[in-house]
C-alpha cells in the first residue's frame, strides 16, 4: 500500500467516510452494461443456483435452478442465460467501423497496413465482485466443450443449442478481465476500490455491501457503523440483512431456508411422477409449481439487494469524469471483442483447456505491457495518481526557472535546450536518466543533467530536452517549456513498445517441449458421473 493510499484510508477512518484515491474514472463504463449477479451451490463446482441478469435496472431477469444437482435443470438455466447474454453480445458484433491494422504479409514478410472491421462498440459485463468474475470464468469452462445434439447426434446428454457458444464468450470475457485496464468484464468491488479508499482493509472491501456503506453511507450514519451492519446484522431468523454478493451464499441461508425448500421441491416432483391420474397430476403439478416458486422467491430475495447495490455503485462511478486515456484502452477492448467474434465466425474450435507455451508467453508479455501502459496512463490522466508517483520518486512537478538554448554536436546541430526546473519532489534521478513530459498527448523526452542547489523551495534540476522540437535549427513554437511554466516530468515512459515476435506454436523450440499436439483438436467434453443425473 503506498503511503498516499494509507493516508486516504486513515482519513476515511477519522472522517467515517471513504476518501477518493482517484479524481477521474479510470475504467470505461458502458451506456448499457449487462449486470450479472449469480449464485452458486455450496460444495459443487460450477453448479449455479440462480442469477439476476439484464441491462434494465428495474427489470432484471430471474433465473433459478430449483434442484442444482439436476443436469437438465442446469442446462435449462444455462439455455435461458444464453438467451439473455448472447443477443446482448451479438448486438455489438454487427455494428462495425473500418479500421487499419498492421499485419505481416505472409508472402513478403513485410509489415503492411490492411483495412479491417472493428466493432464500433463492445459489450460490457459487470459482476458484483472478484469471485463473481471467477464464476464467469468457471461457467465458461463448464460450457465451452459441451456438445449439442447438432454437433454430435450420439451424445447422451446433449447441451441446449447455444450453451457451448455462451461458454466460449464467457471464457473470453473471463480471460480478457485478466488484462490490466481492460473493461469487458468488471468486478464492481475492484472498480470501487480503485477509486475510493475506505476505513477498512482490502479483505473487508471485498464485501460489496460494506464497501458501498463506506463510500455512500445512509444519512446520519458513519461509514464504519453502516459497513458493520452490512457485514454482520441478522434478522430474528438469523439471516443476514445484507446477503453476501455471491456467488457463494451464507451457510445459514443454505441450512435454514434453502435446504428445506429444495427438499420440498424434490418431494413434490417425486409425488408428481407417482401421480396415478390426470386430476391427481394437476394437483401435484400445482404443488410442484408452488415449491419451485418458493425457491425462486428465495433466490430473488438473496440476489435483488446485490443487484440494486451494483447499480448504486455504477451510479457513483458514473458521477466521476472519465479519464482521458480511458477511450484508448476501451478501443483495445473493442479489438479484443472483434477478434473473438472473428474466431467464432471462422469456425475455430473453443479455447483450449490450457494455453500452450507460446500462447502463455504472448499473453504474459501483453499483460505486462498493458500494466505498464495502465500505470502510465492513470498517472497522466489523474493528478492524484501522479501525486503517488511523485511521492515514490518516479515523477516530479515544478516551475521552470530558466531556459538556456543549446545545440547538439555534429554536422547538423539540433536544438537541445537546457531547462531548469525547481521542484520540492525527490525523484530518483541518476546521470543522464531519461524523463518524459506529455506534450499535446505525445511524450517529449529529456535527460537529467545536473542538480543545482537544494535550498528552500526545493531543488533546481537541469534537464536537456531531446526531441519533439521539429526538424529546424530553431525549436518549433511551444515545443520548449518557458520560464514560469508549471511542468511535470515522469521517469517512466508513456508509451509501450511491442515485444519481440515469438515463434509460432508449431515452431515451439526443444527447450519448451517442442510443438504441442494438434492445435485444432477439440478437447473431449467432461465425462459424466452418476451424481450429475438424479
Amino acid at each position: 500500500m503506498s503511503l498516499i493510499t494509507t493516508l486516504a484510508r486513515l482519513e476515511a477512518v477519522s472522517t467515517g467516510r471513504a476518501r477518493p484515491t482517484a479524481t477521474v474514472r479510470h475504467r470505461h463504463l458502458s451506456e448499457r452494461p449487462l449486470v450479472f449477479v449469480p449464485l452458486t451451490t455450496a460444495g459443487e463446482a460450477g453448479a449455479p443456483l440462480g442469477a439476476l441478469v439484464g441491462t434494465d435496472r428495474d427489470a432484471p431477469r430471474l433465473l433459478v435452478v430449483p434442484q442444482p444437482r439436476d443436469r437438465d435443470l442446469r442446462f435449462a438455466f444455462l439455455a435461458e442465460l444464453a438467451d439473455v447474454v448472447l443477443p446482448y453480445v451479438e448486438a455489438y458484433a454487427d455494428a462495425v467501423e473500418a479500421a487499419e491494422r498492421t499485419e505481416t504479409d505472409p508472402e513478403t514478410g513485410k509489415r503492411v497496413k490492411v483495412e479491417v472491421d472493428l466493432c464500433a462498440d463492445a459489450p460490457q459485463l459487470i459482476v458484483p465482485s472478484r469471485a463473481g468474475a471467477d464464476f464467469v470464468r468457471l461457467l465458461g469452462r463448464s460450457m465451452r466443450f459441451r456438445r449439442t445434439a447438432e454437433q454430435d447426434p450420439g451424445t447422451p446428454h446433449p447441451a441446449p443449442p447455444r450453451v457451448p457458444l455462451l461458454g466460449r464468450w464467457l471464457t473470453h470475457f473471463g480471460e480478457r478481465a485478466r488484462v490490466p485496464g481492460s473493461s469487458l468484464l468488471l468486478a464492481l468491488t475492484d472498480l470501487l476500490s480503485r477509486h475510493w479508499a475506505t476505513g477498512q482493509s482490502g479483505v473487508e472491501d471485498q464485501h460489496l455491501g460494506s464497501l458501498l456503506a463506506w463510500i455512500d453511507p445512509p444519512a446520519g450514519e458513519s461509514g464504519d457503523a453502516a459497513a458493520r451492519r452490512a457485514e454482520l446484522a441478522r434478522d430474528a431468523d438469523g439471516q443476514l440483512l445484507c446477503p453476501p454478493a455471491g456467488p457463494a451464499t451464507d451457510p445459514a441461508f443454505d441450512n435454514k431456508l434453502l435446504a428445506p425448500a429444495i427438499e420440498a421441491y424434490d418431494r413434490a416432483r417425486t409425488a408428481l411422477a407417482a401421480a396415478e391420474d390426470g386430476a391427481e397430476a394437476d394437483d401435484r403439478f400445482g404443488a410442484l409449481t408452488a415449491a419451485e416458486q418458493r425457491i425462486r422467491d428465495l433466490v430473488e430475495s438473496r440476489t435483488r439487494p446485490t443487484w440494486d447495490a451494483v447499480w448504486h455503485g455504477i451510479d457513483l462511478l458514473r458521477a466521476l469524469p472519465e479519464g482521458a486515456h480511458v477511450p484508448d484502452r476501451w478501443t483495445r477492448d473493442r479489438w479484443s471483442f472483434t477478434a473473438h467474434r472473428d474466431r467464432i465466425t471462422a469456425g475455430e474450435p473453443p479455447q483450449p483447456r490450457v494455453d500452450d507455451a507460446v500462447t502463455a508467453a504472448n499473453k504474459l508479455a501483453a499483460r505486462e505491457r498493458e500494466q505498464a501502459r495502465l500505470d502510465a496512463q492513470e498517472a497522466l490522466d489523474d493528478p492524484l495518481v501522479m501525486a503517488g508517483r511523485r511521492l515514490a520518486g518516479e515523477a516530479f512537478a515544478g516551475e521552470v526557472t530558466d531556459v538556456v538554448m543549446a545545440y547538439s554536436e555534429g554536422r547538423r546541430p539540433s536544438p537541445r535546450p537546457l531547462v531548469t526546473v525547481r521542484t520540492e519532489d525527490l525523484p530518483h534521478l541518476g546521470e543522464r536518466t531519461k524523463v518524459y513530459r506529455s506534450l499535446e498527448g505525445k511524450p517529449q523526452a529529456a535527460e537529467f543533467v545536473a542538480q543545482e542547489g537544494d535550498g528552500d523551495g526545493g531543488a533546481l534540476l537541469v534537464l536537456r530536452v531531446l526531441d519533439k522540437m521539429g526538424r529546424g535549427k530553431e525549436p518549433e513554437p511551444g515545443s520548449v517549456p518557458e520560464k514560469g511554466d508549471r511542468v511535470c516530468f515522469t521517469l517512466f515512459e508513456h508509451d509501450q513498445r511491442g515485444g519481440p515476435k515469438l515463434p509460432d506454436p508449431e515452431e515451439t523450440p526443444w527447450t519448451h517441449g517442442g510443438p504441442p499436439g494438434d492445435p485444432d483438436a477439440v478437447p473431449q467434453p467432461d465425462p459424466l458421473t452418476e451424481e450429475d443425473v438424479l
Binding site: A365, P509, T511
Partner: protein, 453 residues
C-alpha cells in the same frame, strides 16, 4: 543423468583447485563432445562462472563452431566481451547492441577485434557474437547458430528463452540458482505448475522438458573466504553444497589505526577477525530509511577507510590497501541506497559503491557493509524474506561482511505468519526464506556488537 560433483566424493578429498579443475573438464567435455543438446552448470557465488564462460567460448571458437552468447544485461554483455578480448586479442568478437543512446561500454571501442552493430547480419561470420536476451529476441536467422552459451540462466525468464531458443542448435546454460529469481509485474498464477510457465526461470522450464540433460556444479567458491562458504552453502544451497577455495588464515584483514572503542570500530575488528560482524542497534520500528541505521552504515564505511585497512590474500604476498573501490554497501531498497549515498557524501565519500541486491548480483568486493533487509521493519514480507536477496547480500565479499541491523529481527521472523498459498505442480523452492534468514542471523549473533549511537 546428473554429473553433480560432490567435492568430497571419489576417493579422498581433492584440493579445491583439483576439484574445480575436474568439474570444469567434465563441463567442457560435455559441451564440446557430448551428445545432449544442452548442458546445465550451477555456479555458486564466486565459483568462477565468468572464467568458465570465457574458456568454453574460446574452446568452441577454436573448434570452429559459430557461437552466440546470451547474457541478461548490457553490463554483463560488455563485461564478457572485454574478458574475451583480453584473453585473445586476435579473436573476432561481435557485440550486437540496441539502437538506444550509449548502447555499450565505450571501452569496447579500444578493442580492434570487437565489431559492434545493431544488426546481426553485420556480424555474420564472426566466431563469437554476444548480446542481451532482449536484443537476441528480435534477431531472425535462416540458419541457426551451432552453439550458444546462456549466461545467468537462472535470472532469465522462461519466456525470454522461448524467444531466443530457435536461434541455436545446442547450448551451455550457466547460472547461480541461489540468487534472485526472475519475476513478473503481473500475476501469472494461471500458468503456475505448467512446465513452461512463462514467468518461471529458463532453467526450470529447460529441465522440466529435458530432464536427461547433464547437470554440473562448480564446487569451489574462490571469492568467499573459509569463514563464509560453509554458512552461505548451508543456508542457501542445502542440497548442492560447495566449499571455499581458500583456508582459514589464507586471507587476513588488518588495520593500521587501532580501534577507538566505538561500535563501528569494534564491529570492524570483529569482522576482520571472524569474517562476519553484526552491528546491532536498539530495537525500534522504523521506516525503510532509518536514519540511525543509515548513519551507522555510513560510519562503518568511513572508519573502514580511515583506519587504513590492508588485505592479505592468496592473490599476492604483499598486503593490498583496502581502498574505496574494494568496499560496497548493499541494501534491499533503492531509497535506502540513496540515503546511504547521501550520508556518505556528507562524510566526503563518493567512490564507494552503494546499491541494491539486484544490482550487486555478480559483483565482488573485499568488504561489504549490508543494511539488513528486515532491520526495523514492523512486518516481514515475501520481498524481504526472499532467499535470493539475502544470499546476494551475504556473498559479495572476499574478506568480511558487516551487517547493520536493529535488534528484534528474530522475533519478527518468529511472528511472521506462514499461510502461503500452494500451487499444484510447482516445485517447492528450497531453502525457505524464513529458515535461511534464521540460519544467517544465528551465525551473525555470534559476532554481535551492540551499539547505541
Amino acid at each position: 543423468m546428473t554429473a553433480a560433483l560432490d567435492p568430497h566424493a571419489g576417493g579422498g578429498v581433492l584440493d579445491p583447485g583439483a576439484a574445480a579443475g575436474r568439474a570444469t573438464d567434465a563441463i567442457l567435455r560435455d559441451t564440446l563432445h557430448g551428445t545432449h543438446r544442452g548442458v546445465v552448470v550451477d555456479s555458486p557465488p564466486g565459483a568462477g562462472k565468468s572464467t568458465l564462460v570465457v574458456r568454453a567460448a574460446l574452446e568452441l571458437a577454436a573448434a570452429g563452431r559459430p557461437l552466440m552468447i546470451v547474457a541478461q544485461t548490457n553490463a554483463q554483455v560488455d563485461d564478457l566481451v572485454l574478458r574475451l578480448a583480453e584473453k585473445d586479442a586476435e579473436l573476432p568478437v561481435g557485440r550486437l547492441h540496441s539502437s538506444d543512446t550509449d548502447p555499450y561500454d565505450k571501452a569496447l571501442d579500444a578493442r580492434p577485434n570487437v565489431r559492434k552493430s545493431t544488426k546481426a547480419a553485420d556480424l555474420a561470420g564472426l566466431g563469437i557474437v554476444v548480446s542481451t536476451a532482449a536484443k537476441w529476441a528480435h534477431v531472425k536467422v535462416d540458419e541457426p547458430w551451432r552453439h550458444a552459451i546462456v549466461d545467468e540462466a537462472y535470472q532469465m525468464r522462461s519466456d525470454a528463452l522461448l524467444a531466443v531458443a530457435g536461434l541455436f542448435e545446442r547450448a551451455l546454460f550457466v547460472g547461480d540458482p541461489g540468487q534472485l529469481d526472475p519475476f513478473s509485474i503481473v500475476g501469472g498464477e494461471q500458468w503456475a505448475g505448467l512446465s513452461y510457465d512463462p514467468s518461471a526461470s529458463a532453467v526450470t522450464t529447460l529441465l522440466a522438458h529435458n530432464p536427461e540433460l547433464p547437470q554440473h556444479r562448480l564446487p569451489v567458491s574462490w571469492r568467499l573466504p573459509a569463514s563464509a562458504a560453509p554458512l552461505v552453502s548451508g543456508a542457501f544451497y542445502p542440497y548442492t553444497p560447495f566449499r571455499s577455495g581458500t583456508d582459514h588464515g589464507d586471507r587476513r584483514l588488518s588495520f593500521a589505526v587501532p580501534s577507538d572503542g566505538s561500535g563501528p570500530d569494534r564491529v570492524i575488528d570483529e569482522a576482520a577477525g571472524a569474517g562476519w560482524g553484526l552491528l546491532e542497534l536498539p530495537p525500534r520500528h522504523t521506516p525503510r530509511t532509518d536514519p540511525e541505521a543509515v548513519h551507522a552504515v555510513a560510519q562503518v564505511v568511513r572508519r573502514l577507510l580511515e583506519r587504513g585497512g590492508a588485505a592479505v590474500s592468496e592473490r599476492s604476498d604483499d598486503p593490498v590497501p583496502l581502498t574505496a573501490d574494494r568496499i560496497a554497501v548493499g541494501t534491499a531498497h533503492r531509497d535506502q541506497a540513496a540515503s546511504v549515498r547521501a550520508a556518505l557524501a556528507g562524510f566526503g565519500i563518493t567512490d564507494v559503491v552503494v546499491d541494491t541486491a539486484n544490482r550487486l548480483q555478480g559483483r565482488e568486493y573485499d568488504v561489504t557493509v549490508v543494511l539488513h533487509p528486515l532491520s526495523g521493519r514492523p512486518d516481514a514480507t515475501a520481498f524481504h524474506l526472499e532467499t535470493g536477496r539475502l544470499c546476494v547480500l551475504a556473498s559479495r565479499h572476499r574478506h568480511a561482511c558487516i551487517v547493520v541491523c536493529r535488534e528484534g529481527v528474530a522475533e519478527l521472523l518468529d511472528d511472521h505468519p506462514s499461510t502461503e498459498p500452494v500451487q499444484l505442480g510447482v516445485t517447492v523452492k528450497f531453502p525457505d526464506g524464513w529458515e535461511a534468514n534464521h540460519a544467517v542471523l544465528d551465525r551473525l549473533s555470534e559476532h554481535r556488537v551492540a551499539w547505541r549511537p
